[in-house]
């Protein structure tokens, strides 16, 4: 029982990271109808940047500043590489985002260096014991951070002028423009937000361990999340992120009971198995709109 709960908590922590990443994908998808494959690079850039900033500024200031800098980078990428392509085939823009991802990742990766780098988080691999259940502090922190960010996003989309404009543009771009909504501002804001979210996710993904060049692979798990939750659903990103996180942790935990002879842990595969099942059974995801089935 305790073992099960331990796995669930660690899954919720990891799932919170997926949620933050997936929210960025969904925000961009809703504003432009494009999946941005640049999110893993922004995530990695965020973690690397914070590893440089936090010894000087302290962890929390470094996280906020790092998030803002990555948001600014995403803004520039959108303006230079994506905006000129608006109106072209969605497929073409998606390919461009892959190019952006590789470039940003290689540039950022050059700063990882040979010495182990840490994001400077206060948790490391420390745990709390809740009635015998071991909970990693970094997982609790990721969960709390995701909860705060989701609440802020909800308020943003509900009550700010730009948030409402973004919802309008997502529902009907032509009508939104006729109400005076500037779609350029909507695109730019969505990229900046996605960049910020990815950077924060990157910090939590890196917490507790030295940075490595493969950190961006965590970002790929956002794809099963958005397929499960629905490409165009913010709620789907939240629920999907947590579900995928927990499923992955459970499979990882019970792997050796089920497949004692298999050396590779099937936990890392679990999100993608879920993704394939969802694509077969309910291609628009749990909360997605029915028409939104494929990229």
């Amino acid at each position: 029982m305790n073992e099960l709960l331990t796995a669930v908590f660690s899954g919720l922590g990891q799932g919170s990271i997926y949620t933050l990443l997936a929210l960025g994908f969904v925000i961009i998808y809703k504003s432009m109808g494009v999946i941005s494959f640049a999110q893993p690079a922004f995530m990695m850039s965020g973690a690397i940047l914070v590893s440089y900033l936090s010894p000087r500024l302290g962890f929390w200031v470094a996280v906020v500043l790092g998030g803002l800098v990555v948001a600014a980078v995403a803004l520039v990428v959108e303006r230079l590489a994506i905006r000129p392509m608006v109106g072209k085939a969605v497929f073409v823009i998606a390919i461009i985002t892959i190019g952006v991802d590789i470039i940003v990742r290689v540039v950022a990766g050059a700063f990882v260096g040979a010495d182990p780098r840490l994001v400077g988080d206060p948790w490391g691999l420390d745990t709390w014991s809740l009635g015998g259940v071991q909970v990693q502090q970094r997982h609790v922190a990721a969960f709390v951070a995701a909860a705060v960010i989701v609440a802020l996003l909800a308020a943003f989309f509900r009550s700010t002028p730009i948030g409402l404009a973004m919802r309008a543009a997502a529902l009907d771009q032509e009508a939104a423009m006729a109400q005076g909504v500037n779609v350029g501002t909507v695109f730019a804001t969505s990229w900046a937000m996605a960049g910020f979210l990815a950077a924060i996710a990157g910090v939590f993904a890196a917490a507790g361990n030295p940075l490595d060049q493969n950190l961006w692979i965590v970002g790929l798990a956002a794809l099963p999340v958005i397929i499960l939750g629905g490409l165009d659903s913010l709620l789907g990103a939240v629920v999907g992120g947590l579900v995928i996180g927990v499923v992955e942790a459970l499979v990882r935990n019970y792997h050796s009971d089920v497949f004692p002879d298999l050396a590779t842990n099937t936990g890392s595969l679990a999100p993608y198995v879920v993704m394939l099942l969802v694509l077969l059974v309910r291609p628009y995801g749990l909360f997605g709109t029915k028409e939104v089935e494929r990229v």
Partner: protein
Amino acid sequence: MTAAPVLQVQDVTLAFGQVTAINGISFDVRPDELFAVIGPNGAGKTSIFNVISGVYRPQQGAVTLHGESLLGRSPADIAHRGVARTFQNIELFSNLTVIDNLMLGRHQHVGYGTLAALAWIGRARSEELRHRRAVEEIIDFLELAAWRAYPVGMLPYGVQKRVELGRALAMDPKLLLLDEPVAGMNLEETEDMARFILDVREDLHVPMIMVEHDMGLVMDLADRVMVVDFGTPITTGTPAEVQRDPRVVAAYLGGDMQHEEALS
């Protein structure tokens, strides 16, 4: 009668590749005027609206609102300058409520920023209350009170058309473009809409351009009518003048004959 026109469209031509959607059209709309545009399917009526609101950029011609050129401006900019429209196929934000759709019509009048809105402080608060009052007035004006809290996608077709008019009015427009406001409506809904359009002119003094296939409605409501066919202007005049014009009869008869040929 010499008041400066609100909108002037001069010699506008718009082509999509081989298709000339608008071919040298000129007209103006005067203060308080209800100007109708009629013509067979594919005549270029919606394209005229798309040129005025900045969705399409014509190859030739000029469009000015109160003397200022609209060409080359973005749809958002033109909306900010006071051009509001309804769409031929309803383009409402269908998951949002009537109130929220109308609040979006106020978008361009919103002067407070993101942080002020999140903190719900000072200016954001008083301004939002002001916008809500403006929206409530329109809801009363268009008799939408019963539907105000429903997502518009759930409402009857005729009511959705009215909500779209309401959203356009929420912009405090200087010019209103109505693309087939009664298309697909039953007799009762059509009569309601006609009454609201008249109220808009009489009470709010908003000049309007109306595209409509319902001849009875056009002849009853419009001050002047422009007839277009294949993107080309046939004639412009009062409803009575236009009805007598042999070229109009020919254009419509021609349209009917094509229609019959297509059927046979």
